[in-house]
């Protein structure tokens, strides 16, 4: 039975590029914040504005790049981003995921992801989902900047619905559970406390030089 997850479904934005790196998702000057929020206005800052942004700056005074899809009002409420291969490569900065989340993106769809970025998504309740090249191409080809289209995601059955198409996607059960139930990963790992302690004790006997 089709079980659409409303949270992860909605209208989408296409960024038809490969190797979108985390320096583009959130440029370095915004990493000086010691918080996890407030990055949304600076998502893709270098592409979204025509001037150089600084931290704590009012965005209303800035020169907007009207040609960049993220500034198109039709897509202001989009919560899905579709992009090409190796999305999120480069720096490990989790600020990239915080910026996407802050902007309102809940699902990132790409042909492939860089490892660290992929992990960071699920730790912040974002779904990162891989489709085949032919499937991504179909979405890119039909994308139209003059009208927002929707993608529906059935997280439980791992099916993406786009127009008349149904695309199956891979997702491990634990990540799915995290997204659906909002699991506390540290809490879950701390349930292994006895095992960690016992490992550590044996390990220290074998490798005493690693302990001061």
């Amino acid at each position: 039975m089709k079980q659409i997850s409303n949270e992860f479904s909605g209208t989408f934005i296409c960024l038809d590029k490969s190797n979108v790196d985390t320096d583009q998702i959130i440029p370095k000057q915004f990493l000086k914040s010691i918080k996890k929020t407030g990055f949304g206005d600076n998502l893709f800052d270098g592409w979204r504005y025509l001037d150089e942004g600084t931290i704590d700056q009012e965005t209303s005074s800035r020169m907007v790049n009207k040609d960049f899809i993220f500034n198109n009002k039709l897509f202001a409420d989009s919560n899905i981003l579709v992009s090409g291969e190796n999305f999120g490569c480069g720096s490990s900065r989790e600020h990239a995921v915080w910026a996407l989340k802050d902007f309102g993106i809940k699902t990132v769809i790409a042909e492939s992801f860089a490892d660290i970025f992929y992990n960071n998504c699920f730790k912040n309740g974002l779904l990162a989902l891989c489709l085949k090249k032919s499937e991504i191409s179909k979405i890119f080809e039909n994308f139209n900047e003059n009208s927002a289209q929707s993608i529906e995601i059935d997280l439980i059955n791992q099916v993406l619905y786009y127009g008349d198409s149904e695309f199956k996607f891979e997702l491990d059960d634990y990540k799915k559970k995290c997204l659906l139930e909002g699991l506390d990963e540290i809490g879950a790992s701390l349930k292994f406390t006895d095992q960690i302690k016992s490992f550590e004790k044996n390990y220290q006997i074998k490798n005493p030089w690693l302990f001061k």
């Binding site: 000057q29 990493l31 010691i34 480069g90 900065r93 660290i116 491990d172 095992q195 005493p208 001061k212």
Partner: protein, 467 residues
């Protein structure tokens, strides 16, 4: 017992528990911390009211955000108030949890990936993590070293473990002597050009072969450092006598009987003869000429005797057009015809003593070309700086017209005041040529320290072997 790769051995030795989803809890030996990716993790600990699991595994230092001038002023030397707050927050967290710390005024302060090895805090067989993707550097010692996100920093602080899926095994073999003045940087850039920036995604890369065995530890660190630019979270070289000689006598390394005991373990850290790799590449050292990037991804790289390629020759033509447009380059331009505005020698890739020595050797008795507006040398640590000054290298750089700076990440990512101006073109020994990486609309060409020094003299790229 079946044959294992080095990665398999390190994985098994740190495997604490298998989780229901197929991932594992992996025990972490060393946790490096800097000011940019840790504040939110420490906040998380406080929200949970828990303490770091094992304080002696942690070493902290400020590096990303720190100015490379006025170091004697300490925190007061940081003019940007948000940068200062971030460094101050690190100091507060260090104090609260009584962590090992190299402060701004300490000569041991520097880029985390330089100071770990330099202090003997990185050892063979270890698992090493840091909230920085270039943690792969430490794999040079036969360690399993991975960059992690801030949530994972918090997880490691809380549990001493990382949740990880086992990666596949890749081996890259390179045989033969490197050509004159071709270095580890050229090797890693060549590899990325061959396998692409996603070529290593999902893999641990083991580097092997006589070329790798003949590299110094500095060279191996440069090589492993850029594994992440090939998509691999970790890269490694099996430890050998070069490794053990480097470690011996380092401040935090084991000594006396402990060293001998450790050595017994370390010598077993290599892939078994019959070990199976999921993917394997082999190259000959003679294929590798000095490398220069011309685009906005490290895979957009060519040998110095080549030209800027035509976008239509690639499958994602638009990406290449965008890149050349950003870089202000026309297809067909000879790399040796690209003139430069700035030179940057530094970063966790190339700021170690060997890097400074080769750059100084080439610069000796020469001056910056007239069109070079600024040239920076930023040693990787206070101790690298000190060593270079003892060898008189600083005088060579200063005489040539370089600015001789204090340790930090500096213009590799330009979080501090060291940045390119708009459309300025830089020959940089760093690791990423992404748009805006070194400054808003700045243009980065990645090269080796030798090639950066040669470019400084000529004002344009030149094959360093012609100097």
């Amino acid at each position: 017992m079946s044959s294992k790769t080095l990665y398999d051995k390190l994985w098994d030795a740190h495997h604490v528990a298998k989780r229901d989803d197929g991932s594992s809890l992996i025990y972490i030996d060393r946790h490096l911390i800097h000011e940019v990716t840790s504040p939110q993790a420490f906040d998380g600990l406080r929200e949970r009211k828990i303490e770091p699991w094992r304080v002696d595994s942690i070493i902290a230092t400020p590096d990303h955000n720190v100015p490379t001038e006025n170091r004697a002023k300490g925190l007061k030397g940081i003019s940007d108030s948000t940068s200062k707050l971030q460094v101050l927050t690190l100091e507060e967290n260090v104090k609260k949890y009584d962590l090992n710390f190299f402060s701004l005024g300490d000569e041991r302060q520097g880029i985390v990936h330089v100071i770990g090895p330099e202090q003997g805090l990185t050892l063979p067989g270890m698992t090493v993590v840091c909230g920085d993707s270039h943690t792969s550097t430490h794999g040079a010692f036969g360690a399993l070293a991975m960059g992690i996100g801030t949530s994972e920093v918090e997880h490691v602080l809380a549990t001493q473990c990382l949740i990880a899926y086992k990666q596949k095994n890749m081996r890259i073999n390179i045989e033969g002597d490197l050509l004159e003045r071709v270095s580890a940087k050229d090797v890693t850039m060549f590899i990325i050009g061959q396998i692409g920036t996603a070529g290593g995604t999902g893999f641990n890369i083991e580097y092997a072969g006589s070329t790798i065995e003949n590299l110094s530890m500095e060279g191996r660190m440069t090589l492993c450092n850029m594994s992440i630019e090939a998509g691999a979270r970790s890269g490694m070289v099996a430890p050998d006598q070069t490794t053990f000689d480097y470690i011996k006598g380092k401040p935090f390394a084991p000594s006396g009987d402990q060293f001998d005991k450790a050595l017994d373990t370390w010598i077993s850290l290599k892939s078994d003869p019959g070990a199976v790799f999921d993917n394997e590449f082999s190259f000959s050292s003679e294929q590798i000429l000095p490398q220069v990037t011309w685009g906005t991804s490290p895979e957009m790289v060519s040998s110095i005797d080549e030209k800027v390629p035509e976008p239509r020759d690639f499958k994602n033509k638009e990406n290449y057009e965008d890149a050349l447009n950003y870089m202000g380059l026309k297809p067909g331009t000879k790399l040796t015809d690209i003139s430069l505005d700035q030179i940057f020698i530094g970063s966790c890739t190339n700021s170690r003593i060997e890097d400074l020595r080769i750059a100084a050797e080439i610069l000796k008795g020469n001056k910056l070309a007239k069109n070079i507006k600024r040239a920076l040398v930023v040693p990787g640590s206070g101790l690298v700086k000190k060593q270079a000054e003892e060898e008189g290298l600083h005088e060579i750089f200063i005489d040539a017209g370089f600015s001789w700076r204090d340790a930090g990440c500096s213009m590799c990512l330009g979080m501090n005041p060291d940045q390119l101006n708009q459309e300025e073109r830089c020959a940089s020994t760093s690791n990423r040529n992404f748009e805006g990486r070194q400054g808003y609309k700045g243009r980065t060409h990645l090269v080796s320290p030798a090639m950066a020094a040669a470019a400084a003299i000529e004002g344009r790229f030149i094959d360093v072997r012609e100097i």
